[in-house]
Symmetry: C3
Subunit: 294 residues, 3 copies
Amino acid sequence: LCPPGVLPLCCRAPSWDRAARQLPRLPLAPCRAFSNNKIQVDLDESSGIATMKFKSPPVNSLSLDFLTEFSISLEKLENNRACRGVIITSAIPKIFSSGLDIMEMCGKNVEHYGEFWRAVQEMWLRLYGSNMVTVAAVNGSSPAGGCLIALSCDYRIMAENPKFSIGLNEAQLGIVAPFWFKDTFVNVVGHRIAERSLQLGSLHPAPEALQLGLVDELVPEEKLLEKASAVMARWLALPDHARQFTKSMMRKTVLDRLVAHREEDIKYFINFISKESIQKSLRMYMEMLKKKKG
Amino acid sequence: LCPPGVLPLCCRAPSWDRAARQLPRLPLAPCRAFSNNKIQVDLDESSGIATMKFKSPPVNSLSLDFLTEFSISLEKLENNRACRGVIITSAIPKIFSSGLDIMEMCGKNVEHYGEFWRAVQEMWLRLYGSNMVTVAAVNGSSPAGGCLIALSCDYRIMAENPKFSIGLNEAQLGIVAPFWFKDTFVNVVGHRIAERSLQLGSLHPAPEALQLGLVDELVPEEKLLEKASAVMARWLALPDHARQFTKSMMRKTVLDRLVAHREEDIKYFINFISKESIQKSLRMYMEMLKKKKG
Amino acid sequence: LCPPGVLPLCCRAPSWDRAARQLPRLPLAPCRAFSNNKIQVDLDESSGIATMKFKSPPVNSLSLDFLTEFSISLEKLENNRACRGVIITSAIPKIFSSGLDIMEMCGKNVEHYGEFWRAVQEMWLRLYGSNMVTVAAVNGSSPAGGCLIALSCDYRIMAENPKFSIGLNEAQLGIVAPFWFKDTFVNVVGHRIAERSLQLGSLHPAPEALQLGLVDELVPEEKLLEKASAVMARWLALPDHARQFTKSMMRKTVLDRLVAHREEDIKYFINFISKESIQKSLRMYMEMLKKKKG
């Protein structure tokens, strides 16, 4: 029985995921530590704290493979009673995550776009709705989808390097952050800051991000993980049950909105991304990125 | 006739109260000053300002008796045309109110839990929806339900003593602040600060409470009532009618939500508090309190 | 096709306007610069930036004529592909706009009140829902409806003169800011600041307005337009399409609310303003203003 107005997120294995995605039910085998292609996951069973390290060169972009691995890793940890909290960070210097992989949105077919977008939604539903304590240790730049991952955690610590920036900069690319990116952002920084930042597609240097409330604190890069562990310990000092209900109560409205409009949101994305004008501007953006590197 | 989207709170004697609680209709006899067991109420008819002083040792906990007296006192003042504003403070040193009385939630029967919870709701509906100007002069610590009382006022002044703290710390006790505590909190400090503070069950020392916007200003303890009167005078300088409509417009959504889910909320509370696990953790908490004192 | 949860404001010529007001469809003739009675409009086709200068002495009050001219000017610019942004400022020293013209609300008949209120709504729906980038260069005091105009823009720059103040001070006059004034205010400054400021009918001096987030920055008065142009250039650097969708997504809920309750809101206004008690307090307010001048 949940409190009025509270999603049953407090129950492990939320009902929307398998129903919507027909994920194969994962074996609930003991999973202490598992490593795979794009994300390294380590679980310290004594503390109950897992660490997820993005290690997908060059910039941890959120490809379909990356997103699937992320969702599966999260689900495994969520179902593992030994795990109570997750620290999310990057193994790649200077970049936390560059956001959605443009390659997945360019020159592919409609089925691919749909599958990709469902995977983006899935990742967010799992992370924003997680029962675990989630702490982002943002040790590099974090635009667009990378920013969304940080925003979806319970707490954000960023390396105090003004060269690192974070923000939902979709408008710069000629695309629009979906409503659930916006909702997540508004819940963190409020309506006015979100309105301005989203319209300008701003990338905020770390000190500005702190000032806006986009991140909770800045620490020297070498102390980032140490600080994340200390923060995690403080959050884990609370009884899980009460904390989870409270979290669910705070995030329910926004999670519900995507769940209610999921298929509509996918259809809109497919239609939007298939437009020749959008394809053209994404190709131009990729050209620009290539020239920058060269 | 009320403006679209405005509760008829502007009409004295809100319709939900007697209907829901079958309170005996109070005699509208002239009530200049009345004192009773747990709250001292004084009304200065020349200024139109009443003072409610909590005087229920040792810690002004919100027992069923206290809550009933609080609601009746508020209703009397609300119906008294000589009264336009109320200053709420404590007669007990170092404590404003310790919040809901755990004794009322421990080892009692289902009927008792229901009656108690209805009285908590009633108090909040009356205070948050009051037509009078309400100023909290927080002259001591104010956890949980004590914090709710302060949050429900129009303005909060706190003694600038860093030993005094305030917050919705329910999660620390393994319980969950109800959705309407949360709504009231979000309306004061915004979504992000509320999310973090509620999940951690934080008690904020006075200076931090000021910084978060949880209270509006800090003054030396000896100047608290003087300051409260000055603030009250500024609020009473406005025409009542316009101010009351405006207040109702701002608080309507959140008041409506509890009115619409009142019985559901009581049922949930009864079910939750009757659980053996919750009873156990409350007993442990009380043991801890006893040892602290001893 | 719009994203889920997005008003089709992105389509020029919003559907609600003509349907609701039966405005004659304006000829889409090339309109480079046009001047008329109360607002001077200049369009720089090379930059795509228009300037609207209020020039209705003595205090740019929002009369029916002023509001109609404002809406028509906005519509012309909106339909002009050469125009991408508008800077709104005043040609009258020390005053941006004094807000709704009390003469329109005093001693007139019911039809007049209805026509006037519809024009106020129309102006706000067009400005808050504009596809163009809108920057307010607030070069004087800006109470009530004047403040609403500033709040409805994308960005607010104010002359850093502490003698200039801004705010929704309706409560001071014994009237109530309508719910859509309130919604616009809450979207800028958040719930708590709005609740306090609206109940007190506060007029905030420029430095305080900056601190509350009511305006985005202060600059010396002589640099106001230069700064407005620089801000506009930054906003116009973004692709129109993405920016417009984003703006619409942020403002949709609040715009929808008035569209859904428009007739109800007009009826309420007529009923309210026709009351003898309100007429009396407006007459007293006008007397006071006359004495101030004399």
